[in-house]
């Protein structure tokens, strides 16, 4: 699993709900490309077109609040966002992202230290975020059981490995 990401920052404010991330009218499919194409349309209609693989999201409080729709982290992951750093995350969004092997990192205060377009570097192993001015800030460490899922590449690969270990003699 990749543990260092350098990427361009997109900034968002507080309470970015799953309705902001992917609107209900696009959920009548299981095609992840549809979710990706309309991501954050309620905030910026051209956002999904301007995102590049490897970009990062830095947001305020309560990112991903609202619905249980896993299509929200699927949309952002499909666009190639490599990690989301926010002051805090809503609980179902957090679980959904981790289950997809998608790093979501609680980084209180980071939002005030970066601007849209900045290039920052995230070091998962050391829990560090390196800022453009040479400064460094830390994100909250993930609980061990959550880290285990992320390191396995998501919940499905983790369960597959566990089940095959159980069934082999």
């Amino acid at each position: 699993m990749q543990t260092r990401f350098q990427g361009r920052v997109w900034t968002f404010g507080d309470d970015m709900s799953t309705d902001h991330i992917i609107a209900g009218r696009y959920l009548g499919t299981t095609d992840p490309n549809v979710f990706a194409a309309h991501a954050f349309e309620a905030v910026d209609a051209s956002w999904a077109k301007n995102v590049r693989a490897g970009d990062l999201i830095v947001a305020g409080d309560n990112f991903g609040c609202g619905s249980a729709r896993e299509q929200a982290p699927v949309a952002l992951k499909t666009l190639g966002i490599s990690a989301i750093l926010a002051n805090s995350f809503a609980r179902i969004f957090f679980r959904n992202a981790i289950n997809l092997g998608f790093p979501v990192l609680e980084s209180p205060g980071l939002r005030e230290k970066v601007n849209a377009g900045d290039v920052i570097e995230v070091d998962l192993d050391h829990g560090e975020v390196h800022l453009p001015d040479g400064g460094m800030t830390r994100f909250n460490p993930l609980p061990p059981n959550v880290l285990e899922i992320l390191e396995a590449g998501g919940l499905v690969p983790k369960l597959r490995a566990e089940l095959s270990a159980k069934s082999s003699p």
Binding site: H20, R25, G28, E41, S88, R91, I92, R95, V156, L163
Partner: protein, 418 residues
């Protein structure tokens, strides 16, 4: 030993642990897993996990609610896939179109969830079911797949936040006004990761339909679960299910993280303004705001008692010219009851639209969505930008009383003045 909250008792039992404490991670055995169309998204990871069969088809309930009836060929296909999956997996409690309901309401009214149960639902408003004294939490597609495969789910034992409500509710003021007031006070993340337990004389006096409203919108506080002790009111509500009833309540000396106290004496109707459920104003401050649409529906406020309120106000009245008022019951059982009681005729005489049960309009999916710049007052639970249609539509959240009064006047109206 220190006392335990309802959340701690249930997670202790479900994980076969002695005594669990907040912050602890437990592996819970799920008593009930319920799903709607999220099942279509969950089937992909379920197939990848590689267990051919679900862990226990008798512990699963499935219905179709988000897109009923299916508005596109692709969604009709999605329903077919779900139907076929339930048949192959031997899931007997599959409630197909016609026998359907918004899943939380369907679970509640059929008595599928009982006190002490660990209930997991593939939808954020699963919190509603905690009103029967269950631990009922929402999850996404991959977690749903994991529960289908293993019957288990890891859960962090939540701190409990007590919301104590005292006083007597005023005229045409109800649980919706209370929960909007609570959310307006705590913020839309005021109970993130926590269990919210409602206590107090006001709550004890509430019937189940109103208790469901309180727990339903703990989701809009960021809560993991909402709950109310299972008492005589709960027992009577669940009696028709014919299952043994085991009450549950928090111990007197249980530790809670925080207590919010509300006195509802003198409190009037409340409205959450665009575009956050915590953007609260008393109805007086937004009265006169012109509306294009009024919607009475969703798992939050579309039970028979809510429809009776609409009928009481609409009888002999007309929906304001140029306003569309849509009433969508929370289940087919409620639909039938509304027919029996003659409510549907009152709605139609008034010029309202009455539809089959679905989540459609609440999440902007189908069967009544909003155009740009349209203003809607709704009995639903969320009003983030784009929630009910166009991102520039404005949504106000309010009680069935306030929604119906506003539909008649064509502007936000204090229902006490009608």
């Amino acid at each position: 030993m220190q006392g335990q909250t309802i959340a701690e008792k249930i997670l202790g039992r479900a994980s076969r642990s002695e005594a669990v404490r907040p912050g602890q991670i437990v592996d819970g055995e799920v008593d009930l897993l319920y799903m709607h169309e999220m099942l279509a998204m969950a089937m992909l990871p379920f197939n990848d996990i590689g267990t051919a069969k679900v862990w226990d088809p008798a512990k699963i309930v499935v219905t179709l609610d988000h897109w009923v009836p299916p508005p596109t060929p692709e969604i009709a296909k999605m329903h077919q896939t779900i139907r076929e999956f339930c048949r192959k997996q031997g899931i007997q409690r599959f409630h197909d179109v016609g026998d359907h309901g918004i899943v939380h309401q369907l679970i509640a009214e059929r008595g599928y969830a009982q006190p002490w149960d660990l209930v997991i639902g593939s939808d954020s408003h699963t919190n509603m079911v905690g009103a029967v004294g269950a631990f009922a939490a929402g999850i996404g597609a991959t977690d749903t797949a994991a529960v289908m495969a293993t019957g288990r789910l890891w859960l962090r034992v939540p701190e409990t936040i007590r919301v104590d409500i005292q006083g007597t509710l005023g005229n045409r003021t109800g649980a919706k006004d209370v929960i909007l007031k609570v959310i307006g006070t705590t913020g839309d993340d005021g109970a993130r990761y926590a269990a919210v337990e409602f206590t107090g004389s006001t709550v004890k006096a509430l019937p189940m339909n109103e208790r469901f409203v309180l727990c339903n919108m703990t989701t809009e506080m960021g809560a993991k679960v909402g709950m109310i002790e299972a008492d005589g009111v709960t027992r009577d509500y669940l009696a028709h299910a014919g299952r043994p009833f085991r009450p549950i309540r928090s111990d007197e000396d249980a530790a809670v993280a925080k207590t919010f106290t509300f006195d509802v004496d003198g409190m009037g109707p409340q409205v959450a303004c665009p575009s956050n459920p915590a953007n609260l104003k008393p109805v007086e401050e937004v009265e006169g705001t012109k509306i294009d649409v009024a919607f009475l529906g969703s798992c939050t406020n579309a039970r028979i008692e809510d429809l009776r309120i609409a009928a009481e106000l609409l009888k002999g009245e007309k929906v304001a010219h140029g306003v569309r008022f849509q009433i969508t019951p929370a289940s087919q059982i409620i639909y039938r009851q509304a027919l029996r009681e003659g409510l549907v005729e009152i709605f139609m005489d008034a010029g309202a639209t009455f539809t089959s049960s679905t989540c459609g309009p609440c999440f902007g999916g189908h069967l009544g969505t909003l155009a740009g710049d349209e203003v809607c007052i709704s009995s639903t639970n969320r009003n983030y930008p784009g929630r009910m249609g166009s991102p520039t539509a404005q949504v106000y959240l309010a009680s069935p009383w306030t929604v119906t009064a506003s539909a008649i006047y064509g502007e936000i109206k204090d229902p006490r003045k009608v």
